[in-house]
Amino acid sequence: MKKEYVILFVIFLLTLNFRMILSLQADGFSSDSAYYNLRHTDYISENTQPMIYDELSYSGRYILDTHIFHYALAGLRAFLPDFFIFKILPEILFALLVFIVYAVAKTLTENSTAAMLSALISGFIPIFVSNSVNTISIYSIVLPLIFYQLFCLMNLETHKGRFIVLSFLLPLIHPFTAILALAFLFYAVLLSIESIRIKKQVKEAVIFFVMLVLLISFIFYKKVFLALGLNALLQNVPSALFASYFQGVNVFSLIYNIGIIPLILGALGIIFGIAWEKNDFAFLLSALVLADFALLFLKLINFNLGMMFLGILLAIFSATAISKAIKYVNITKFARHKNAIFVAFVILIAATLFFPSYSGASNAIKAAPSADEINALAWISHNTPKNSIVLGNIDEGNLIAYASQRKTVADNVFMFAPDRYDDVYTMLTSESLVKSTNLMHNYGVGYIFISEKTKQSYNMEDLNNADSECYKMEHESKKAKIYKFLC
């Protein structure tokens, strides 16, 4: 086996171990969407058909999802234990990205050392690690496949079949694939601005992919497009939440979240690739950066997702800058200190990426529901009427539905859901008992679940009128409280 593949495999193991060590520290999952995926996978495992009407979420609502991911997880359950599927597999899938980043970076630079360093960087992008570790996320499949599709397009001669298969598969899995279609359009525009002729076969592949994504998206999300038009892309995110996007985003947060190394090297890589070399692949990757920026600017994608994607792209672009640096060092007197420089660079990566990643991921692990909170929700499932409705943090809605098996007021899957974002905030934080109880009446709230995360998210210690006769404490532990609503 080639030495570079061994090193690459070591990078993969390093990334995987890093993620696994963090992930196994928590019993639960760090993101609420993990519980959404768990519930739907459970449902498919039991019924072999997807849950179209969710009786618990928003106390009953229609779900818009292709459920390919849930079917895949349910299918794997036939051969593998749940612990592996839900705890380990997502980490493996996210870690696999280093191979794909390596492949793309190598195609871009034709330099395996640069590509390897790029793969190493991609494994430890802080915002990527902290948002993907310890989750059951559809992006564990989507992100590697999107970058693999990109690789297939870059090597269309040899990967045509895979490109076609993925073109059908990707839009079926998740609508985020549209970013690739948008990027391909930007790619065509960028090349025409630079008067570079796009390869005929690539042009044909791009037309095919864009048309297919459009067709599949319009077939699957027909109802949303008919109801909301282009606003469907906003996924019905409540206006209050929408307004809070990008709050607190500044240069320092960007440096911290993406890492100073990929940020600087990535930016240099873009300049080298586009302005100096006029590299076809650099234009393709720049088009992806542009598409990501466009979607972020228009707030059409979640900020964290956009940043994760940008981080990986910058890691790939770093390979161009690293490759140039290696070539430059090789023609200078520093060439004899090549190994020392290499080691110093790896240490620099560790210092600027590894520690922020670890700190971010540790926070994510802490955000996973504690045993106290899970027990409190289990208490609800054993001690409350089956049709009771539980009010809680909107970012724990899926957790509440999963662990308590009770109806919720709201969660963060907003598509086709009524806008209750402000009302949940009012019910949990209002000083006016009349206001909050009126809303609770409207939503038929029976129990209120207050977790540590609720306290942090809503900046509260407890319900404002917890001592009034409208609320009765039914369950209390160190990290969770359950009130019964009596009025």
Binding site: M211, L212, L214, F218, L226, G229, L230
Partner: protein, 482 residues
């Protein structure tokens, strides 16, 4: 042998097209139940006016001068119900024939593909499946164009036909004149005299008819938006896949772009088409009826685009076949998706029953959202306002008052508006509830639920509620209810 096979294929395609044409024109007839055979709202308005065409409309806006074209109502007057069902079909068949003849005269290829795309176009399905003024106007426009493009003496009839269009639909009439101008200017400069004759007749008929209307109705213009505005609004009025009531299919539009690119090298020969498309595209942002004419051009260029993809040399045949397949699927999907929405569109059976129930109640002004106005007047009751907002009396004031009444929880405020328009009934249905209120105790719903003077529900079936404002309900406030 090969020629024989080609002839056979061509005949087969023609038969298939004919069947497709009939099917496309009978979608509503085939799939919508007999009780609610007329979809939409305009058809109810036209049917009502057709039964008694006059220059005073006692029901719209509580009574107004008939400030709309009366061409179609007069045409329907003989047998209103039968013609309301049959006429769109007849206009559809005739329009398709004229469109085909025009393509042949202009030597546009491929004609059959263009025709197939047009038949699957949502705007075409809408136009000729329900009673509306644009279907008659478009037929006349096509007839006028066809006559205009003839060589013989018959072409002198074209100014007469064109002069009739304003009596059916002013938007289509103005656009027809504009397109004819482009045609004369870019394609057939020798027909200037005939164009001026058509223009003179057009101005005479439109001028006389509309100055009479404006003189009697006064000039008032809605200052509110009946449609969604902004970029999303513009797209939503253009593309049926994004929710346009009679838009263009996304994939037809994409293919049309491919078609335009394909003929771009011969752009100077296609100035008429390009200018027409640009003008129609811009106009459709403000007057959606322009989409009916735009869809004809889109069908032609989409057909050219399709044939270009089919005939050009692709490096990878697999991608080529897939792209063609996707385009065909996309066009069919747009048509089916639109047809499904259209067949299930309002009024539903509940609303039709509600209209029947309303017609049996004693006379009185009915308040509802303006989109319900035509149904209310079809039930023989005066409405506060409807969608014929142009040249309507106090249209902006009525709109503001309506919005106020929908939102208010203040009985005094509501009472003033009720008295101002002599409102006797309030019509509320499920569609309105979804659009106008978030919760079931918001604004007017709160008043109807809790105010003893208002909570007199006289009808509540299948999501339609009719509330009667009780006699003497405002006696204390000095309100009189007629």
């Amino acid at each position: 042998m090969k020629a024989k096979r080609q002839k056979y294929t061509s005949s087969f395609a023609s038969i298939l097209l004919a069947i497709g044409c009939v099917f496309s024109l009978l979608i509503i007839f085939l799939f919508r139940s007999a009780e609610k055979l007329l979809p939409g709202r305009e058809s109810y308005f036209l049917l009502r006016i057709a039964e008694n065409p006059a220059f005073i409309d006692a029901l719209s806006f509580g009574g107004r001068f008939t400030a709309y074209p009366l061409g179609l109502p007069y045409l329907l007057n003989l047998l209103p119900w039968a013609l309301a069902i049959a006429m769109p079909f007849v206009f559809g068949i005739l329009s398709i024939i004229l469109f085909f003849l025009l393509l042949r005269d202009f030597n546009v290829k491929p004609r059959k593909t263009a025709l197939a795309i047009l038949l699957l176009s949502p705007s075409f399905i809408y136009l000729f499946n329900t009673l509306n003024t644009a279907s008659a106007a478009l037929f006349l426009a096509l007839l006028g164009f066809w006559l205009f493009a003839r060589k013989g003496g018959i072409r002198v009839l074209s100014p007469l036909v064109i002069a009739l269009i304003p009596l059916f639909d002013l938007t289509i009439a103005l656009l027809s004149m504009l397109l004819l101008l482009f045609y004369v200017f870019f394609k057939d400069k020798e027909s200037k005299k005939l164009y001026f004759a058509a223009l003179a007749l057009f101005l005479a008929s439109a001028g006389i008819y509309y100055s009479y209307i404006i003189k009697n109705a006064g000039f008032s213009w809605p200052m509110f938006n009946l449609w969604e505005t902004g970029f999303n609004g513009a797209l939503r009025s253009l593309l049926s896949d994004l929710g346009a009531p009679y838009g263009i299919g996304l994939f037809s539009l994409i293919l049309a772009v491919f078609g335009i690119i394909a003929v771009w090298d011969a752009k100077y020969e296609n100035k008429f088409a390009f200018f027409s498309i640009a003008a129609l595209l811009v106009t459709s942002m403000f007057f959606p009826k322009a989409l009916f004419m735009l869809s004809l051009f889109v069908a032609v260029f989409a057909a050219i685009g399709f044939m270009d993809i089919l005939n050009s040399r692709w490096e990878n045949r697999l991608f080529q076949r897939f792209v063609l397949l996707i385009m065909v699927c996309g066009i069919i999907f747009s048509a089916l998706s639109f047809a499904q929405v259209f067949v299930n569109s309002e009024p539903d059976e509940g609303i039709v029953k509600g209209i029947g129930a309303l017609s049996e109640l004693p006379n009185g002004v009915v308040f509802s959202e303006y989109t319900r106005g035509h149904w209310i007047s079809f039930a023989g009751k005066p409405n506060v306002m409807d969608e014929n907002a142009y040249l309507a009396p106090d249209v902006n004031e009525r709109f503001e008052d309506s919005q106020m009444l929908f939102k208010t929880r203040d009985i005094e405020e509501a009472g003033k508006i009720i008295k101002k328009y002599n409102i006797k009934y309030i019509w509320i249905d499920a569609g309105m509830k979804r659009r106008l209120w978030k919760e079931d105790e918001d604004g007017l719903l709160f008043l109807l639920k809790y105010n003893p003077d208002l909570k007199n529900k006289v009808y509540d079936v299948d999501g339609v509620e009719i509330w009667e404002i009780s006699e003497g309900a405002y006696a204390g406030s000095g309100y009189e209810i007629r």
